[in-house]
Point group: C2
Chain length 347, copies 2
């Protein structure tokens, strides 16, 4: 043991953090999962904990030791090597027995390299948040949106979920069209849909007051959990309109960073499947703007490639292929991380 | 002492809570102020504390005792007599020596009756939040918007402040027009505007990253504190457009509840002064929709009238006039509550 160089790439996502342990030749030999790892939405401390836990799990799953790892690259939203959490993560990983090199990359770049080894191209990621990037020379050179739920993320799961909530409120308030989203949302938040039009105080139905109170009792970002209600209601005109506008917003974000033709990697559940969002996205984008479209489940494989790059192994298509295949194999052998699509979750 | 019936009306506002102590004939003989009293934005516990403190201050300012008070009416957003906080407030006021009747009304109705004694009419309130109501027979019978910062409040101080932030982000990101709001907002959040275009990571200027981080470090509702930047920039096309749209949203909310002609009471700082919001509001509304427009500073006097009504004294124009005059007199005598306009705050 310990005779070859091992590297770990970590993709800190909004709902889960994934770590890939790889050899120099691009064989994924370990894999680990932990909780929320986005320093912006989950907080720096929680993201650091998730990175540590995922790394330890990946190393443990391979039967190797932390001291065998020479490079760790953490792909985290907004985190830089000089950021607040960088030194803390270094210390914590040191406590776990790691004495190698720690690097940082963007989680968006990890998503990009999960789908292509091309050193120039694009990624559009729409999960809980939404962002478009242009990659040149293996680095992000332009970014559109990705501004978070409060200031942007147009076309994201949050954006869709918030529009679902607003559409249902307008329906209940007689201020907008009736929609099949209304009984679905009321059920989702635990409000009895029986007699939803019965009048309450101040000229509004009881269900409206209950819904507004229920939504404010949750964290704002939880609105993203209502996006699947729109995907379940594509025949409903109100839901279809929300999904169409989401696709258009995502296309607009991509257009804002477009230059030369290149591959487009699609991350996150909103755009990953055929349907109204994807159709509106391509309609708005037009033909010829991108060379190929590659959907990916997450940024785990790309994080592994970025760790290999940091360890001196340039990113190349054959390495991506080998890593993706071996990681998929290791992943299937671990019961605690079912493939994202099978779970029915879209985010 | 204690030979006549005293009543206290309390207006729980988003930034301050005001209590008026009145006699049966409508003479304001006591006045008290406390902190945030909106149970939805400040939380039920904090609102209850603010109501208690304002009531105690009002009673103390008159030299009377809590046991002399026979009726208290708390005008609070979303609070009903059967609501979670009602029993707790009853218990707390009992501990303070109150053994009379406690009633609840909407804070919006308190604003309405601060401006008119007419039993039918309208109020549009736009401060931190935004709402329109129709009053008939002295009760609120229809409400538009008032859905809070996350789900509505279009045309509110929060709405304006969020648009200011988004416009500045678009400017810094080269995704929208340049605006004079940019240096104002950067200064307001403590970012050095020197070299604001200098490039940072991922193809974006350093100032953009700093601004986004600074905004997420604050509570979302704090965005409302940037609304005054738009009011200071009425000659800037971007700011003027935001203010115009705010006025139109407020007019749309009023139109949604309009029926017969009636007086219109205007509460909150966004619409209270002449300027682009007010102009757009009236342009959108058209002539003849409302009978007269009465701006009010807050809901204190109306809360006092509602307390009198609960004590058996019907609301009438002469009582409103007397109460407004005497409350203004008591208020001027208290150094701790300068008139809202003089402070320069708009919310």
């Amino acid at each position: 043991m310990g005779h070859d160089m091992l590297m770990v790439g970590v993709d800190g996502g909004g709902t889960a953090t994934r770590a890939v342990l790889t050899t120099r030749d691009g064989s994924g030999i370990g894999y680990g999962v932990a909780g929320r790892g986005n320093p912006i939405s989950a907080g720096v401390e929680q993201a650091i904990d998730a990175v540590r836990e995922a790394v330890r799990a990946a190393v443990a799953s391979s039967g190797r030791a932390m001291s065998d790892v020479s490079v760790i690259v953490a792909c985290l939203a907004g985190q830089t090597a000089s950021g607040a959490g960088a030194e803390l993560l270094r210390v914590r990983l040191g406590e776990d027995g790691f004495s190698g090199t720690l690097g940082f990359e963007s989680d968006l770049l990890a998503t990009y390299f999960s789908g292509t080894a091309a050193d120039s191209g694009y990624a559009v990621v729409s999960g809980t948040g939404a962002c478009a990037i242009r990659v040149e020379g293996g680095r992000i050179v332009a970014t559109a949106d990705g501004l978070g739920w409060l200031l942007g993320d147009r076309g994201s799961g949050y954006w869709i979920g918030q529009r679902v909530a607003k559409a249902v409120i307008r329906d209940l308030d007689d201020a907008g069209p009736a929609t099949g989203l209304t009984p679905l949302l009321l059920e989702a938040v635990g409000i009895d849909p029986f007699g939803i039009r019965s009048p309450g105080a101040e000229g509004r139905p009881v269900a409206l007051e209950q819904l507004v109170a229920a939504l404010y009792a949750r964290a704002p970002i939880v609105l993203s959990s209502f996006a699947p209600l729109a995907f379940r209601s594509v025949d409903d005109p109100v839901a279809a309109d929300i999904l169409r506008r989401a696709g258009e917003h995502l296309a607009d974000s991509l257009v804002a960073v477009l230059a030369d033709r290149g591959p487009l990697v699609i991350g996150g559940g909103v755009l990953s499947r055929p349907g109204p969002v994807r159709a509106a996205f391509h309609r708005r984008l037009g033909d010829g703007a991108v060379r190929e479209v590659v959907p990916v489940d997450d940024g785990a494989v790309g994080a592994g490639l970025l760790a290999m790059r940091a360890g001196g192994c340039p990113i190349a298509q054959d390495r991506l292929g080998r890593l993706a295949e071996t990681v998929a194999h290791v992943r299937r052998s671990l019961v605690h991380d079912p493939p994202p699509r099978a779970s029915g979750a879209i985010l």
